[in-house]
Symmetry: D2
Subunit: 259 residues, 4 copies
């Protein structure tokens, strides 16, 4: 693939802590709320007519998922938390130097989050960066509220982009470190896993027609929790929602289920 490489900015990147939240535009808010709350069991932190703010069971920030009513299904923001307020200035400078569309709102773009920056990155993905966020009750000790398939934290994003090596170089400039990748016979990387927090990854780049969001992944504590979700979907006659799995990934060793 011959696309021009994305230049490395002279401005330092923001210090990203972790993948924190995704905002999804959905065409049927009630149906999406049913799926994520009643079936998958995410916790409602706050909601209004146009949006639902959800978090995983062991999260202490306001939300990990925003469902927003809209005309076309889309990923509106892949949101990362940064280490300090100053990192927002760095994000602005970093992306302005790349010539990207940059918008900063001191009051935040969504409920529960303060000063934030949203940009459209050189690959075409909508990224958000924030530090200030409303802390909420962490339910990790509320064993009376766990279900057999409780989703305990947001684990990672997965993004589809046509030129993975180009995407990886840009992400490394942004401070990500590649933990694993897969190359074809000619030695070209067609999938790469990258992280800031020390799990296997915060996001991954998968080769394909993009920019597109491939998935957002939530983690359970143990493998039987994944099976419990399968069983529940079966009991609710929703097993057609299972696209692949359960199974184990060769690369990350993760025990997975795609919905």
């Amino acid at each position: 693939m011959s696309a021009t490489p994305i230049p490395t900015p002279s401005s330092p990147p923001p210090d990203i802590l972790r993948a924190a939240s995704m905002e999804l535009v959905v065409t049927d808010l009630a149906a999406s709320r049913h799926f994520y709350v009643d079936v998958l069991g995410l916790v409602v932190t706050e909601e209004d007519e146009g949006a639902v703010y959800l978090r995983t069971h062991e999260e202490f920030i306001h939300h990990n998922l925003v469902l927003r009513q809209g005309p076309v299904a889309a990923a509106a923001a892949l949101s990362y938390r940064v280490r300090a307020p100053e990192d927002l200035d760095k994000a602005v400078a970093f992306y302005r130097e790349l010539g990207c569309r940059v918008e900063r709102r001191v009051e935040g773009f969504v409920a529960g989050v303060g000063d934030s920056v949203r940009i459209e990155d050189p690959l075409g993905f909508p990224y958000e960066f924030f530090h200030d966020v409303e802390h909420v009750e962490r339910l990790a000790w509320r064993y009376d509220l766990y279900t057999p398939g409780t989703l305990v934290r947001l684990d990672h994003f997965n993004q589809v982009t046509p030129d993975v090596p180009r995407a990886v170089r840009y992400m490394e400039d942004l401070g990500f470190r590649v933990t694993e990748d897969i190359q074809d016979e000619a030695g070209t990387t067609y999938a790469a896993w990258m992280r800031r927090k020390p799990t296997v990854h915060d996001t991954a780049m998968t080769g394909g027609d993009g920019p597109r969001m491939h998935h957002v992944a939530f983690a359970t504590h143990e493998k039987h929790n994944v099976l419990a979700i399968c069983d529940k979907l079966g009991a609710l006659r929703m097993s057609d929602r299972i696209e692949r799995g359960p199974g184990r990934h060769g690369v990350s060793n993760a025990f997975y289920l795609y919905l």
Copy 2:
């Protein structure tokens, strides 16, 4: 121990299928209902002002536990299901020959159960025998209703009696088979596990001051379900209800928790 052995009746014993239910007299019905339903998650089949009928998640008969309001906490009945209606006639003859108090009610003693026999056995325990019973929805396929600590079936009773060898001989006359026992250094059996259904046991006799009910045991599918009950009790500040465990029994290999 010098107690007179219980004679073996010439009448054949009833053909017992399994330990099926226990009736408990409780002094605070609301508190007991809270514990067994809200905390442990047993399913309410039916209830009225004076009693609550509960079943485990995978049971298909009307109840495995009856809680009945009364002035003094007691085990009112240890109830066994028999193979056929004729086995009730056998139970009547068997216990009459032993000189026991025997009562038969065609309409049953409790809701959901038909023709039944209640006796006070030679050891002083209140046993019930029945065949006809109302079948209810078995929730084994309702994975949407499982909790992390779901109790799936009644496993066994445990009874305290002063002379275990005497009790064992009587129970063998009643058709039970000893699966395991523990003997002291003099070779005297001071605990014995006995069964009709092919699990480790339907009931056990433990040496001590009796006749007393030691416990009724409910089973979970996997060990993590037992731990989830511990965690839930901790979250509800009820861990003082745990008398012993979690642990593993040397005799039956069971992973246990005493409440």
Copy 3:
């Protein structure tokens, strides 16, 4: 299907306790031994040049699986344990009345088993019945020997036969009770699960070109044990041995894996 029904013998059937063992003729004994012992972890009770006798981890009888070197892969015997020595006489009378080939050997047909009857049943399956059997060390307490995917007991057989209703009627005469079945739109049963021991089944009849052995199933304690077998097969580059699964059966609720 219009095949003549199998007549009900006037002789009573033997009192079958449970599915106990299968004898397989294999064309490469070393390769089969590697698969069942080194990969799946069955325990070798005894072996000689021509045969290997294997048992599950919690079994107390001599074997649950016999692998015997031979020219053509086949199921040589589906073996059931009966309650008492007299039941062998009943088996002989029952099958002689049906006109079946019947052979009895006081010294047994295989190592570890005494007086036995082998018959070819009206459906064409080779059944064995025995009571006397060598007891071996039950490894249930040897937690130092468990592996992540330990097979703890033989659970059931599954047989393929063209006329399932005909097969079911014969099996009911033999004392089996149908626990579940599946019928097509015309109401014809095309699969049925039947038991003697009180699990879901000891054997099942599945419609198809037969008589053929469909599978023999071994049980693990928990679901993660099944996943551990998948992971091990993957690590050994043998995951092409997985024919289907892991998954959960709609009928029996079993969490399964087909190899």
Copy 4:
């Protein structure tokens, strides 16, 4: 407690990645090897007459535990990996400024590790810092080698020291962040958990007569793995090695077992 606070050095601390290894002096090397290798299943990377180098199942560095024959049982080193070779210079300057005993060996103090610094810190603990280390095969994909109780990684240390607040201030100067602590009724902290890597902790300070090593903790994947270790110890008649547990910690939510 009135001990003089430990001054904050003007030199920046080394950038510590994680708790990586502990070196234990043991009085019976064969007995210790038996316990950690044959019973707990740690992997032997290398050994000679005087020492055994062990690692957890998913570790990629040379060792997480060194057992060294010696006259008196003791913790010889609590070893941390640092981000870059330059961090060793920082460690030297940081501890020299504190007046501590400092020793640096380019060839390392133990097998498998290169340029290293060992110091005795102001609390009296022997700390080691290193960056260069021999990488070994990570067994995370070797599912054929897992056991029911596999220890997958070193999780944390726990140290006993008389003045916890004094220790915490020093550890914060070293770059650790307190994740949780427990205070008595007078508001004095008597236990604190601190981390560099983003788990609950890399080490903890517990109030008591010290400096002493309280424990080194290894992690399993799931709770049933902890129970499998209990069962194995029981089977080997070694359950007297269990000092406390299994149970769940209130502070870290960890499911634990003390040996």
